[in-house]
């Protein structure tokens, strides 16, 4: 069983000027590809029981111990990046609508309050990692962050929106100015995609099922 690098749903330069073409290309063809390659190398000869990387990551505690760290790191990297590409769009930006907006307002207040809180979490993540808007098993929205390539799926939450704050995600354009990158990200968030992930996650009985629309 092999995992594969998913194609981007848009061109490398589609998110310009917010996220530059060079960053997108290296991020996808080098960093994401390396996670896929190292994951495949680590699991060679093992049957993980599912072709879904989200299911593998959600069940990280049942992965054989000798490959668990490699799967957490590289499988997490594959799952996280696969999601990341799908929640950005050249037609993104703006604000969420409908049920997602309503739930966000109930949890965080007005949209700008969510935005500020998410940005603070993303800027405050020390070292490599991700900031997330996730749905808990109790179907409540939370802003959280994880180190390195850990996924919310690993502790039972369903990621709806993820922002990569590894330096490789922004260094070519923003260098040390992570807060600027975070603001730029808000210009390309595909809230329609996030909203559809929210509706699926509300219905789902397990986080991996809800998350699998991100791709394999």
């Amino acid at each position: 069983m092999q995992f594969h690098l998913p194609e981007l749903p848009y061109a490398y330069d589609a998110l310009e000027p917010h996220i530059d073409a060079a960053t997108m290309e290296i991020h996808h063809t080098k960093h994401h590809q390396a996670y896929v390659d190292k994951l495949n190398a680590a699991i060679e000869g093992y049957d993980l029981g599912t072709p879904s990387i989200e299911e593998v990551v959600a069940a990280i505690h049942t992965v054989p111990e000798e490959i668990r760290t490699a799967v957490r790191n590289h499988g997490g990297g594959h799952a996280n990046h696969s999601l990341f590409w799908t929640i950005m769009s050249p037609n993104g930006g703006g604000e969420p609508t409908g049920a997602l907006l309503q739930a966000m307002e109930e949890e965080f207040g007005r949209f700008h309050a969510f935005r500020e809180s998410f940005a603070t979490t993303a800027a405050g993540r020390f070292g490599s990692g991700w900031a997330w808007l996730s749905l808990t098993p109790e179907k409540r929205l939370v802003i959280e962050d994880t180190p390195n390539q850990n996924s919310p799926l690993m502790h039972g939450n369903t990621p709806l929106l993820g922002l990569d704050v590894w330096e490789h995600a922004y260094y070519l354009k923003y260098q040390n100015r992570r807060p600027e990158y975070i603001q730029a990200f808000f210009q390309v968030i595909d809230w329609e995609a996030v909203g559809s992930r929210y509706r699926e996650a509300l219905q789902a009985t397990s986080p991996a099922v809800a998350s699998s629309s991100a791709g394999h």
């Binding site: 070292g127 490599s128 990692g129 490789h168 260094y171 260098q175 040390n176």
Partner: protein, 196 residues
């Protein structure tokens, strides 16, 4: 301002081709400077403001530790590099490397591998205990041998900001380049100090 960033011990353009001027301007001028700035803001009016940076690193936790350790680690990292670096360690240090790793090439290989394999941000360290026994420590984020009662001798910064302008995703090539700039005189000085 209790803590001041020390001057870079070489010119911004002195490390080419290993590190470009642009790489150093960001790394020293932005990242390292920011850790000092953040630390000074965090400790203002607190007991830590009266300590040495090294004491703060050893005693603190949380954001104070992160910024203090990153301030200290980077100052140490610059001292590990020299435009006249490279070559081979000599004397007692060389003997200890042969004793604990089998030889200098073996040490370089082990420290390089630890640097390349470290997942996420962090530092690959050569450290010594009080008896002079050497070991490799691959530590995440701001963590340092000082926190583990070990004395740092040599370090490779593998936060992506340390090499991304010059090497992009090719961390292995950056690590390989570092050996041509390694300041073995400084490493030897740290080694003798470790056993005092």
């Amino acid at each position: 301002m209790p803590f001041q960033q020390p001057p870079l011990p070489f010119g911004m353009n002195a490390m080419k081709p290993f590190l470009s001027e642009e790489q150093l301007e960001y790394h020293y001028g932005k990242h390292h400077a920011a850790y000092f700035k953040n630390l000074n803001a965090l400790v203002e009016g607190k007991p830590e403001a009266g300590m040495s940076l090294r004491e703060v690193v050893v005693q603190s936790t949380g954001p104070v530790f992160n910024n203090a350790a990153q301030a200290w680690n980077h100052s140490f990292y610059w001292d590990c590099l020299s435009p006249k670096g490279g070559g081979e360690p000599q004397g007692d240090l060389a003997a200890a490397i042969v004793r604990d790793f089998g030889g200098v090439p073996e040490l370089k290989k082990a420290l390089s591998e630890a640097a390349v394999k470290l997942f996420g941000s962090g530092w690959s360290w050569l450290a010594a205990d009080k008896q002079g026994k050497l070991e490799i420590m691959a530590l995440s984020n701001a963590d340092t041998p000082l926190k583990h009662a070990k004395e740092p001798l040599l370090t490779i910064d593998v936060w992506e900001h340390a090499y991304y302008i010059d090497y992009r995703n090719d961390r292995a090539k950056y690590v390989e380049g570092l050996w041509r700039a390694a300041n073995w005189d400084f490493v030897a000085k740290c080694f003798s100090a470790a056993m005092k």
